[in-house]
Symmetry: C2
């Protein structure tokens, strides 16, 4: 995993850094793999877009002189802030369409700058979009055309200057961290203290602490405390009405938890500027193994048994046969359960031993020898778990490269109770396969569990199919609607860790109790009376 | 622990059941112990109050005929719903003062009854106080005189008929449970399925699921998932504007978590009628030990090491020397750390072994042999941990008995970060001792950790002193204000698990960010436009 990157150039349209985009040979290999997965001829390499061909509309307004020092209206800068990194974002960027570029990019250097920016937005009727790493896959940073038209302009509030690990409390294991801090910089700074936040979403390389908090990001651990929510000790949020700073507390029972109102608020209720986060000592001991199952259902039962055992493994990821194929973990039609335990304090052998017993009880066969190590970094790189880790980090680059060879690949994720899972999985997989067939012909649909809870799994689905180059989005929209309908109808959540944004909003509205929507609307009116914060997100 | 009780009579003024109130010999023994703790002569046995001497004001209004079937205006019934079980509640009840009795007690048999009751209250300007077990220690169920005067009447909404375990999902380990279900009935019903909620607040015998949810009750486990918040899968809440039912989900990242708005809402934002709760298999394996420390500070360091180890013991309770004396756990001036691990799945020997290593590293001496058992119930009753368990359950009975011999005993609790704890503890203990000395003469102040988190402990303080019989509350108020001031000034929370109610409200207002108060007020106006729900609690 690359952990530097300050001096590298992010791509205008694709995931991540320009210099990590797959080269021609790699794209050709990818084309051949895609043919194996979806049938048909090997997809053709399309010409890559050039930055100078990006079509960026002229800005509709200029920032006031008081904000000039933190404002940019450079077209490339505005284009780079037009989208997140969802499939429709990649496709539009690939075709040079940056119609959604904000009119101005503001880079506050302090909480006071954030307040000044919000003041201007409220006065000038400018929509304000808080922006972390720009890695949203749900339209979280892109007002729709109708939303843009309803405002005099759109300001992107890029928090990259509010970055850094400002303070470390080694006794309480907590650190005060700027919201704009990206994953690699955050972990590098903590490593200097022997600490780690241990939060590795797939977007780690580019996404920020503030974005994780605003979207309730899912984390590294497959069980136990893993959502970023669980690691927040206190937060500072700037709203148009003033600043909210919660108290550093390990726990409290005083009324509804204040932080929980802003966790998941997706920039609609305030701008998170910094947080005290619970951190950990860097793990030293690791124990891991892979278990093969001939039947996916047996793997599900084993994952459930481990999730309900109280062993709390750091990894308990079940891959179905298609997922094993995609990630080259197993090619024989098996399902694979990746199990790992890690600790800064004690060897984890006894934990793994019991988890493997549970897996064997459900028909699993341990593949190879378990890897037991007292040097976590080395242990993590060995075996199938290591193969998996690399594929995980590379996946967003591959998705972008697939766009450039006319292949559609995307993911969606959810959570549901164990009792519902078999019918749920059949309904969702069926909906995805049907929609693929209807739109672009047969494709691949795979499933893995990213997280497992005592009461249910968080299944993560990938679909791959041919793209109709130039008209990619019609098919994607039909597939996305079909799977989202199936998820909500079968009792899942529209998102376990990708957030709601504008893409999931119709299904979120179905999932969310109406009176809770009314409550959030009342809060929005109180904190953001002019409604400038990320219009259309969560609240109308 | 008594787990039946349906046919037994709860005391009108004291904690729990009449037949479990300490007899004369026990009260005499208690008097002698109190003398040892606080000095002076042995306190005298006062005459116990008789129910027929209770002074209950006449009701100010009658319920409408439509609610007659669920309404009671019987004076004893109204008196029994006047107070919670805080020290001031016991004292007033002991002296026959039931001035705060509600005008009517309503016992809804369905969510529709709850809605009908709320309709009547809004129309007739009647304050509505949701009521679970009546065990609040913070004035949660008692409108103040000013609050009572501002309304045409007060209705106590006793949810005891909305009780029972209605549905069990053994696959997902979840159960749908009525809000009015008390601890013993809840555990008995789940035990029939081999399951347990494993939530044992000190009020367990009398308190209810709905009360736990409304107050974010702290639970059985000293580490890890323990607050009732963590065990909620979905909730149903009736508000004056309609019903909110959240979706059964193991986790979700879709916007701010809806359940978190009502968890801790203390009856001010709706009436919780039922919830899907995450349950567990009944533990079978147990491993426990006690560790003695000559210095309290070393015990603190050991507790912190265990809390940060990732071992997640079910018990990790540190008792200071005064606490050891109170609970007869050690009489030699030591501090004691009680450690226990339990599991339904695997023996916990290796976990305990490592925790004891950590304790020894910090100067601890293991007292006796660790108890390792594969029959949890038997294991729990042995040794110092067993002594401790019995004292825990009996404590509220003893507090009531102390009132009847002119001794003041009360507790308060909080949480703060480890880094702050030494100065915090000195400030809070000092404030308590000073206030005791100022008001009633020297007394005892003890401290234990009820819960420990990676970033800080939850200290729980007990104070004991002589009472000025007939004028007990002036001293109590001065002590309560002094320790609450110290807690909030030193960076703690005004409550870790006792809730805010009316008693903690002034300090809650200092602790809570002002804009969060504004947000809650906006929510209250939306869900409860007439403001009938538990007036004065959390929101003005």
């Amino acid at each position: 995993m690359a952990i530097d990157g300050a001096a590298r150039t992010p791509s205008l349209w694709a995931w991540g850094f320009v210099d990590r985009f797959p080269d021609e040979a790699a794209r050709r290999r990818l084309g051949n793999q895609a043919r194996m997965l979806t049938g048909g001829a090997a997809p053709a390499l399309l010409a890559l877009p050039r930055d100078e061909d990006a079509r960026v509309p002229a800005p509709r307004l200029a920032p006031p002189p008081a904000l000039a020092a933190i404002a940019s209206q450079d077209p490339r800068d505005r284009a780079a802030h037009a989208y997140g990194r969802a499939y429709p974002d990649l496709v539009r960027g690939f075709h040079g369409d940056f119609a959604a570029a904000p009119d101005v990019v503001l880079r506050p250097g302090s909480a006071a700058d954030v307040a000044a920016a919000l003041d201007w937005c409220a006065g000038a009727r400018v929509a304000c979009v808080p922006y972390g790493g720009g890695t949203s896959v749900v339209g979280g940073v892109e007002p729709t055309a109708a939303q843009r038209e309803a405002w005099a302009g759109v300001a992107c509030l890029d928090l990259e200057r509010l970055a850094g690990v400002h303070e470390v409390d080694p006794t309480s294991l907590a650190a005060r961290i700027g919201a704009g801090t990206r994953g690699p910089a955050l972990e590098t700074a903590l490593a200097g203290h022997g600490l780690t936040l241990r939060h590795y979403p797939q977007s780690f390389e580019r996404s920020t602490l503030g974005g994780w908090l605003a979207t309730r990001a899912g984390g590294h651990f497959a069980t136990g405390y893993t959502h970023i929510d669980d690691y927040v000790e206190a937060m500072t949020v700037v709203t148009p009405r003033g600043t909210v700073a919660t108290r550093r507390l390990p726990a409290s029972g005083a009324g509804p938890a204040p932080d929980r109102l802003w966790l998941g608020s997706e920039g609609a209720l305030g701008v998170i500027t910094e947080a005290w986060m619970r951190v950990q000592r860097r793990p030293r001991f690791r124990a891991s193994a892979s278990v093969k199952f001939r039947r996916f259902d047996d793997g599900v039962a084993a994952a459930r048994a481990v999730a309900q055992s109280g062993l709390w493994p750091s990894n308990c990821r079940l891959l179905d046969p298609a997922e094993c194929l995609l990630h080259q973990v197993a090619l024989d039609g098996s399902s694979v359960l990746l199990l790992a335990f890690e600790s800064a304090d004690h060897p984890r052998g006894p934990w793994l031993e019991r988890a493997l017993e549970l897996a064997r009880d459900h028909g699993g066969a341990v593949a190879g020898d378990p890897v037991i190590s007292d040097d976590a970094a080395a242990g993590a790189r060995e075996g199938e778990a290591g193969t998996w880790r690399q594929a995980f980090v590379d996946a967003p680059y591959l998705q972008s490269a697939l766009v450039s060879i006319g292949v559609m690949a995307d993911t969606f994720e959810t959570a549901c109770t164990w009792e519902r899972f078999p019918a749920f999985h059949a309904a969702v997989t069926g909906a995805a396969q049907d929609a693929l067939r209807r739109t672009v012909g047969p494709g691949l649909v795979s499933c893995r569990f990213t997280h497992v809870y005592p009461d249910g799994p968080a299944p993560y689905y990938t679909f791959v199919g041919a793209a109709r180059v130039g008209d990619e989005l019609a098919a994607w929209r039909e597939i996305k609607a079909a799977v989202s309908d199936a998820i909500v109808a079968a009792g899942g959540t529209i998102t376990h860790h990708h957030a709601v944004g504008r893409t999931h909003r119709p299904w979120y509205d179905r999932e969310r109790p109406q009176l809770f929507a009314s409550a959030l609307t009342a809060v929005k009116r109180t904190l953001d009376p002019a409604g400038v914060l990320n219009p259309g997100v969560l609240i109308d």
